[in-house]
């Protein structure tokens, strides 16, 4: 018992110094991670089946435009990009850990930066939930190959209590 108490005392001291990566406010891990995988074929099917209804509910116009590029939004290339974006949104939701209410997918935006990589922008309720949860410094990576897209999201948690 003494050993356990000593261990927790050490964790607390290190957390206060920001050493262990634990939030000094609540003791939760300082970093949250979310991962999701998505079949590209399923996204292409949704685009074909529901069209604009699907696109509007899940994506923002710049995301659709970037995914489609100069081709049709019904193309495999567009579906691959949209699937990566969808996986990214689900990964973000896993990081947000909403309890009382859901989070709309189109409040989470995957932004293509001029250099080619992607970042995240949270809007409206998604942004407010992230702020309330003390989440910041978001990082995203997604990729696709064959019929699969995968995304991983990191965010730092600090509740500041």
């Amino acid at each position: 018992m003494g050993e356990l108490a000593d261990r927790y005392q050490k964790i607390g001291d290190e957390a206060a110094r920001g050493v262990t990566g634990l939030c000094s406010g609540c003791g939760e891990e300082s970093w949250r991670v979310g991962t999701d995988v998505q079949l590209i074929e399923a996204v292409r099917d949704s685009v074909g089946r529901f069209g604009e209804d699907y696109l509007i509910r899940v994506y923002l116009p710049p995301e659709v435009a970037d995914s489609a590029g100069s081709g049709p939004v019904t193309s495999w290339a567009a579906a691959s990009s949209l699937a990566g974006r969808y996986a990214s949104k689900e990964a973000v939701i896993k990081v947000l850990r909403p309890v009382q209410t859901g989070v709309r997918w189109n409040q989470i935006e995957v932004v293509r930066e001029p250099g080619g990589w992607c970042t995240l922008a949270l809007h409206h309720d998604a942004h407010r939930l992230a702020e309330r949860s003390g989440l910041s410094r978001w990082a995203l990576s997604f990729a696709h190959d064959g019929n699969v897209a995968v995304a991983t999201v990191l965010a730092m948690h600090s509740c500041g209590h």
Binding site: A42, S46, R57, E90, G102, R104
Partner: protein
Amino acid sequence: MDDTIREILRDNGRLPVDAESLDRTTDLYRAGLTSHASVNVMLALEDAFDIEFPDALLRKSTFESIAAIAAALEVMGVDETLVSE
């Protein structure tokens, strides 16, 4: 209402099992419903019942079973007799 929900699950849920074989309380995610497929189910339900799911019901638990979906539809005031064609 359950019949309509099962039909929508059959046509949009991409389930590896027959939707007709699902009990009302069967965990649909364990039965193979993915998060993306639940988007399709949501859109199909909205089209079938002429509704729009509010943010409060855009939770994973809303689509976790036929009973849960039915309960959500009832909260939204769905009258099965008014199912759109």
